[in-house]
């Protein structure tokens, strides 16, 4: 790397110790003091190395001798140091890395570690930084984490402009979305057009789409782990941006220099004000906006103890006033809240622990008013979560073990208010559940070429009272008093064992073969009938009738780096059967439904595919090409006459090409091209007429046309493809102030990509017309970003 330089430190340790011989340390950002997660430490002479853990720490077991360590991290200048270990004396290295100017360099590199993609046992895992996300072309001038990850192989976008993502044939509820360890149940704003992640607050993003290590679980398809900035403990920094539909601002700085720092960030959309000129008079009475806040604080008590507290609060607000009757109003608000507190402790040179307590909540409130009458409908889900993880590093073994516990409270629906003389106080039974897990994993070497990561995770889910199990007749009406469970009384318990195994065999220093296997249970399920995540969609627990979802995933891959790691390539194939999958009957009623489970049907899923990935890491031109061939089906006895059908987001071919070219110190150009086979969709195959009548004014016959469906997802929408470009211009860059402009053009060649199809019977022309709706034509946008 041109910008890198060698920094030489000589450590000579003379004291005799015949037992312990290790190099350990912490790697931090030289300017902010933030720990660097996943930085690579490589011992040049031994062609071995390690990476820092989530607290920025590392440890290497090493024999006496003189060694050269190379420390590298994306967006930072490489550092090389020389270490001499004599007579087994431990060496502790507190290290700092200096950031490069990200906007100028490497803006589109995924992963950063020399050879790490080849040597580690991890597969199906990628990392992104917030800076990488910001470098991509964007719509409305809004960089977005979730849109960025859909450019990776095996991860598919939910639709035009949307943030929904689908990993290796899994549904949207099969992704565990974590923000600083807190589960985010609805990670989108604006019905999915933007995610809840403010890129100014984000530090890095990790996606695990297979080969899930034993310390993760709870979702079948993927883990999206978003870590926020901890707060600069050296100096005050303000970041911000002004986009077409929203603006954002973040401030971070020290509370006690070198020890403690904070970060606060906020964002608010003004899309309602922007849209106002385009709306009709009636529509202007409606309003829609969202906002969110992040706050984070850390305190380093000593080298061995550190606490980090993170909080998030965000809401979408929609208000509606009837254009014809001003007494009729409707307000909807929904959003997530999350708080997590983490304590890191180092017991000794070998043993570390993380203790995390989390509270997270998602809720939806609908308020209906008509004159003096009105009522409120609310629903939601909240978790209390406690987990404790240990990391034990001992010679050839890197071990992790721990336990977690979650107390879930599901609130499917509460209605309160008054209409006429009717006092409304109705509630669908709340549901409560314990979810616990223990795990152990060990990564160890077998010889010089084979590294194995073996783990076992034990899970236990119990639905408990208080709960009244209602009994319904064949017309969905409650009969009898039902069966009552006392507080804490178990209703149903599901234990499970989840073996995890991953192995890497090094063919040579730049080539490896990898394989992984995992089995995962999922106890929470999203009740939705649409492809997009709607705020009213409910999360429901496993119960007596709803069995836990279960998936196996087998993956094999070959990894190869070229030209001193300038080029990284990989091919991965996966096979993923899924059981106890849930769908809803066509036309299922999810709204305030006491007997929601009666609307569900249960079946199986299968996904398999092969993913090709090649990226260029260095030079003026960087970027990647990803191609996935895959097939995803579902089979339900009660749907599609029992025949398997394509999953909605089955996409045979999926291509992403991402490129960045550094023109000069001021200008960078980015391009993204995506191509995907059209989504499978269900279209009517017949129609019929109903409700005969007459138009009272014209005397003409009047009829209602109803569409009829007998095959699911049997039709393919046209292929989706799009080219986006953006130019980043660094207007000013000094020690005290940075300013840059991002000019993006979304859908450069104005492709009309299908959003949905609808039909209109044209009685006059005696034919049915089909129309395809597409959302975004060529769409320029501009955003200004600043930092001081």
């Amino acid at each position: 790397m041109k910008s890198s330089f060698i920094f030489l430190i000589l450590f000579i340790v003379f004291f005799a110790d015949t037992h312990a011989q290790q190099i350990s340390g912490t790697i931090k950002d030289s300017t902010t003091g933030e720990s660097l997660i996943g930085a690579t430490i490589k011992v040049v002479e031994l062609n071995t190395g390690t990476t820092t853990n989530e607290n920025g720490q590392f440890k290497l077991k090493i024999a006496d001798g003189t060694y050269t360590l190379t420390i590298s991290y994306l967006g930072y200048l490489n550092k090389q140091i020389k270490v001499v270990v004599v007579n087994g004396k431990n060496v502790n290295l507190p290290l700092v890395l200096s950031p490069t100017v990200i906007e100028k360099k490497e803006a589109l590199i995924i992963g950063n570690r020399n050879d790490k993609n080849v040597t580690s046992t991890e597969m199906s895992r990628v990392e992104l930084t917030a800076e990488q996300v910001k470098g991509l072309p964007v719509i409305f001038g809004e960089p977005d984490v979730l849109k960025a990850i859909t450019l990776l192989p095996g991860i598919k976008s939910g639709g035009e402009g949307g943030t929904g993502f689908y990993v290796r044939g899994g549904g949207p509820d099969q992704n565990l979305v974590l923000m600083d360890d807190a589960v985010i149940y609805n990670p989108s704003h604006l019905l999915g057009f933007l995610s809840v992640f403010n890129t100014d607050a984000v530090k890095n993003i990790e996606v695990i789409k297979g080969g899930m290590p034993a310390n993760y679980g709870g979702r079948l398809s993927s883990i999206l782990n978003v870590n926020l900035k901890e707060g600069n403990d050296k100096k005050f920094v303000t970041n911000g941006g002004v986009g077409l539909i929203s603006s954002r601002l973040s401030v971070e700085g020290p509370i006690k220099k070198g020890k403690s720092g904070f970060m606060i960030a906020g964002r608010r959309t003004y899309i309602d004000a922007i849209a106002r000129p385009f709306l009709t008079t009636e529509q202007r009475a409606n309003g829609y906006y969202f906002y969110d806040f992040n706050a984070k604080f850390h305190y380093q008590f000593s080298d061995k103890d550190k606490i980090v507290i993170s909080a998030y609060y965000g809401r979408d607000i929609f208000s509606f006033r009837s254009p014809t009757n001003n007494l009729v109003r409707f307000n909807v608000g929904w959003g997530n809240a999350a708080v997590s507190a983490k304590w890191f402790h180092q017991y000794n040179k070998k043993l570390f622990s993380n203790t995390v307590a989390v509270y997270n909540r998602y809720d939806l409130n609908n308020k209906f008013e008509f004159g003096s009458n009105g009522f409120v409908l609310s629903s939601g889900l909240q978790d209390w979560n406690l987990k404790h993880d240990f990391i034990y590093l001992s010679g050839n073994h890197n071990m992790k073990f721990g336990a977690s516990y979650i107390w879930h409270t599901f609130t499917p629906g509460i209605a309160t208010g008054q209409v006429g003389t009717i006092v409304i106080n109705e509630a669908i039974n709340k549901q409560y559940a314990h979810e616990a897990a223990i795990y152990f994993l060990d990564e160890f070497k077998l010889g010089s070429r084979l590294t194995v990561n073996a783990g076992l995770r034990g899970v236990l889910f119990t639905q408990v009272g208080p709960f009244t199990e209602k009994i319904f007749d064949d017309q969905d009406l409650v009969i009898g008093d039902g069966k009552t469970y006392k507080s804490g009384e178990p209703i149903v318990t599901y234990p499970g064992i989840e073996p995890r195994l991953a192995a890497t065999y090094l063919l040579n220093s730049t080539t490896s073969l990898k394989a992984s296997f995992n089995r995962v249970y999922q106890f929470l399920h999203l009740a939705t009938t649409s492809g997009a995540q709607f705020p009213a969609d409910l999360w429901v627990p496993s119960s007596q009738r709803v069995k836990p979802q279960l998936a196996y995933q087998y993956a094999v891959g070959v990894y190869k780096n070229f030209n001193k790691n300038e080029y990284e390539t990989s091919i991965e194939a996966y096979y993923k059967p899924m059981f106890n999958q849930i769908e809803f009957k066509p036309g299922a009623n999810l709204f305030f439904n006491q007997n929601l489970e009666n609307e569900m049907v249960f079946g199986e899923g299968l996904s398999y595919g092969i993913e090709f990935f090649a990226k260029k890491k260095f030079g003026r031109l960087t970027g990647w090409i990803g191609y996935t061939w895959s097939r995803t089906t579902r089979q339900f006895d009660e749907l599609n006459n029992g025949r398997p059908f394509f999953f909605r987001y089955d996409r045979t071919h999926d291509i992403s090409i991402v490129a960045t070219y550094q023109i000069n110190n001021k200008w960078t150009v980015n391009g993204v091209f995506v191509y995907g086979t059209g989504n499978a969709t269900t279209l009517p195959t017949a129609r019929y007429t109903y409700q005969p009548g007459f138009d009272l004014i014209t005397g003409e016959p009047k009829i209602t046309f109803i569409d009829l469906y007998d095959r699911i997802n049997d039709y393919r929408l046209p292929a989706y493809h799009r080219l986006d470009v953006s130019f980043t211009y660094v207007a000013k860059q000094t020690e005290k102030f940075e300013s840059s402009w991002n000019f993006s053009i979304y859908n450069l060649y104005n492709r009309a990509n299908p959003y949905f199809i609808y039909f209109v019977p044209d009685l006059e022309a005696q034919r049915v017309r089909a129309y395809m709706v597409y959302l975004f034509p060529i769409l320029p946008s501009v955003a200004w970003n600043f930092k001081f």
Partner: protein
Amino acid sequence: MRTTIVNIILVIVVAGLVSCEKEITVNLPPGKKSIVVEASINQQFPNLNYVYISRTLDYFNPDLSFNGVKDALVFITPGEIQGRDTIWNVSNRIQLFDISEIPGVDSLLAGFNGVYFNPLLLPQIGVPYKLEITVENSFISGVTTIPNVVEIDTVFWRTEFDEQEGDTDVFLTFEFVDGPEQNNYRLIVHNSQNPLMVGWGTANTFREFDDAILNNGRRPYSFFSPFNYSDTVNIYLNSIGRREYLFWDSFDDAKDNGGPFSTPVMVKSNITGAIGSFTGYGVSYRRVILR
């Protein structure tokens, strides 16, 4: 409501940028053939006791006529409840005939080619009725009952001058007493000088609702959209059974199929052998002149 909200949000989110659409050609394989039945009985208006039989068409079949089915044998039989059993006495059954072929009956519904009718059919509240149809080698049957009538109790309105339109808007409300039991309702509003006499499809508004949330008390029903001053409004508050309610609820969703946020809806038929419904309406009727 959900679709409405989503559409409004979509308009706000992408105002000025969306609503791009183009006509396309879609090739769909032929669909499954089926008979479709709409059978209605009520205790008050004999003209609204009819059975409409049609058949499904391939989606892009150029023939958009109403596709009614003639030459069907249609019977409705009143039953008698004895304990847990219902006794159907064939001697009481009434045959319905193609309305275009009944002497002395001159109905506009004849134009639909498949409407069956008998002026002698006078159903009663609380009595079970069985529908039997034999057509094109198919046998179709269904059972319904006309539930007890829930009376429209009070009707009142307020007026408001509409400055934009320069006329007077009338906001109409009626009230009824909802009992403690689970009822299901279907509201039909007919904005005309005369009561509804020709097919439920002639009315302006159809809406079904239940009392899952608003139960047991005096319940107002306010119309969101205003009427015009001096309009004559015919209100039908029809009590229907649970199965019939589930059909009409799914029918309402099926009318609004399509779009990115919805999935195809299949109606929940309450008859066997065909798609459709057999609905007994317990009609409460009020006619008001808004002055």
